[in-house]
């Protein structure tokens, strides 16, 4: 299993993060370092600690690019931190797949992968049912508060704690949690032949290794193609939750997204599978 890259706390993102290549922060020294790291990665075995260190440093070096790209998608109802987080996953994928032989700059290569990951995040949210803006905002506050309170106490907060923290009623929290799950129940098409096709081999696949062991499952013939049609990340989350017994928070930490996001993806995947099974019979 590849070591997860530790992404440092992004802190507050400054108002204007210029394109890395044109900043003083990204000068010749950085470019030289970048080349050295890429060469080092190409020359070493993925299991080699040197390889892993080079990979980590390469990712860290390009975090400003992720911030820059993520900021293009702010004001669309998703917290910037979440966008930076998913964009970083794109960056890691790009680092793992970059082929220096192709003769393109790494940032040129990484940009579409990062943007793709951010766009996929919006698609995953699947606001197929029109959710009022107030509820979307409430959901965002809930997501933030959940993360904050979880970090403080080491466990997921209760509805009462969320209400007290946000200064709203418990009813509103319940309403917000429902809004958070306004996933589409007819999203079967949305993911068939999604981006995953050309993204081989994706980071999640490489991290994966675990496959749903369905030997004992009766519906396996009809379930198999449905599972295969899910994006690899969703498949992995399902496997971690239901076959490895990990909690949503543990999965969130492992996959690098928020617990609420995990819960949303689980609900959506299960709905997709359910619907597929119903069509089958």
């Amino acid at each position: 299993m590849t070591d997860p890259v530790v992404v440092p706390d992004q802190g507050t993102v400054v108002d204007h993060v210029p394109e890395p290549r044109s900043t003083s922060r990204w000068g010749d020294a950085e470019r030289v370092r970048e080349r050295a790291l890429i060469a080092l990665m190409a020359d070493t075995d993925p299991d080699d600690p040197t390889h892993r260190r080079a990979r980590d440093e390469l990712v860290t070096l390009h975090l400003p690019l992720v911030q820059f790209l993520a900021r293009r998608f702010r004001d669309r109802g998703e917290p910037l931190e979440d966008l930076v987080q998913v964009g970083t996953i794109g960056l890691i994928k790009a680092v793992d797949r970059f082929d220096p032989q192709r003769g393109v700059e790494f940032s040129t290569y990484a940009t579409p992968t990062i943007v793709g990951e951010v766009k996929r995040h919006f698609r995953d949210k699947g606001w197929a049912i029109r959710v009022p803006r107030r509820l979307q905002e409430l959901r965002i506050s809930l997501g933030r508060a959940t993360a904050e309170l979880s970090q403080k106490s080491g466990r997921a907060p209760t509805v009462a704690e969320l209400a007290a923290h946000l200064g709203i009623s418990e009813d509103e929290v319940i309403e917000g949690l429902e809004g958070a799950q306004a996933y589409s129940t007819t999203s079967l098409d949305a993911h068939v032949g999604g981006d995953d096709g050309e993204e081989s081999p994706s980071l999640v696949d490489r991290l994966g290794g675990e496959d749903l062991d369905l030997a004992a499952v009766e519906y396996r013939e009809s379930l198999k193609p449905l599972l295969a049609a899910l994006p690899s990340r969703e498949r992995r989350i399902l496997a971690l939750r239901f076959f490895h017994g990990m909690t949503q928070s543990e999965i969130a930490a492992e996959v690098g997204i928020s617990q609420m996001h995990v819960s949303r993806l689980l609900a959506k995947s299960l709905a997709t599978l359910r619907e597929g099974m119903t069509l089958e019979t």
Binding site: V173, I174, R241, F242, M277
Partner: protein, 129 residues
Amino acid sequence: MSTSIRLRIPASSEWVVLARTTATACCARLDFDVERLEDVRLAVDEVAGLLIAQAVPGSEISCVFTPYDDGRLDIALSAATDTGVLPQTDTFAWAVLTALVDDVRATVDAAELTVVLRTSRDATTAVDA
């Protein structure tokens, strides 16, 4: 002492939201953390899907939520069925259910299929036989 909340919804996926929201409110009342709460919601979705598939067309799903003072919550969902068949326990759906709650039981008679979910505020409680 415990009280039960009863709800009847048409056996159709568009009304499952009401069962889910009622479950959420019960969990909130029992002070479940949101992670457990989300698990319960997923489980209600799953059972409802299972029952809707077997329910007599045009019938209703009856939902009984029973929160206990010790933090336990039982949710019984039943549908009118004419097949009289218990759900298979070697299916993916069943594997999902058992992972989401402490205990799942299904009973069936000639007219009705019932699935009872038991969960609890605190970490998995031993299931009484």
